[in-house]
Symmetry: C3
Subunit: 119 residues, 3 copies
């Protein structure tokens, strides 16, 4: 069930998306909170129209959002968040002169109304 | 007020988006929880950079997120979720040899800070 | 930490995204709830495949989602929502014959599992 959406600003060219997809899924599927590897759906999105803050500086961001069914403990959620940050820290490009910010967010999905099936 | 965002993986070509938009809006606007048809804003998004799990299998997904103002009963949310799943089950392509997963999520939006107007 | 995502339907051509990015960030960073201007990451997304309601009318939407760490008061969240609505009201195009709907949503992000760092 987990959905992972990673978004990064368009001024991070040559982002190794394929490598990051593989690394993120490997790291998360090895965690006991992900019961079936089949459940994890990860995607990358590029934000081409963006602005960070108000200063005339070169800035970039990468932001990951992991959506899991509600009921995880705070500790489990923090572990998942740290896992994702670890992979993205390693693989995110750092162009010279650009301040790159990384953030990871865990979102609880409402379990009672969640629908899921294989077609 | 409801916002419906349907996302599908790029390996589901010829997704009948126009037909699905019409069918989803017709189904949801006929439900008593949608008070004014004008309120329902549905969009489709294609995820071209994605990976599902870790196995070397052909897999695809379609995921719908319905965002409604908080206050719905669990029963009403489950009904809305099932309605959406029903339409997508019918219209999502199933390429041969590809395992397609369908999921639907209902999200409560904070009512107190929601702003809405016609321009 | 705030993430602002503004989405608008593709039938609002010539949306002044650059101007709106600057105006939104200026307005929000002047609010006491945004402690460091560097934290605010704003992006625009165009929804090209969409449908609003069921009537055969020309309709458009712009929807903003501000994601903030949990803990804000309802009053603070309403202020932020109104600030965003004010900027978008001023800058959103209004093509003749098209009904344009504007909405703003504030989302609480789980503080305990949020990860954030500069690379």
């Amino acid at each position: 069930m987990p959905h992972l959406i990673v978004e990064y600003s368009g001024n991070l060219p040559h982002y190794p998306e394929a490598e990051a997809l593989t690394a993120l899924n490997a790291a998360l599927c090895a965690h006991p909170q992900v019961l079936d590897e089949l459940d994890l759906k990860t995607r990358f999105v590029v934000a081409d129209s963006f602005e960070i803050g108000t200063a005339p500086a070169q800035r970039a961001f990468v932001h990951a959002q992991l959506r899991v069914l509600s009921g995880r403990t705070p500790e489990a959620k923090k572990e998942l968040s740290d896992l994702i940050a670890g992979v993205l820290r390693q693989l995110t490009p750092r162009p010279q002169g650009v301040l790159v910010q990384l953030s990871v967010e865990i979102v609880d999905m409402d379990r009672g109304s969640y629908a899921k099936e294989k077609l």
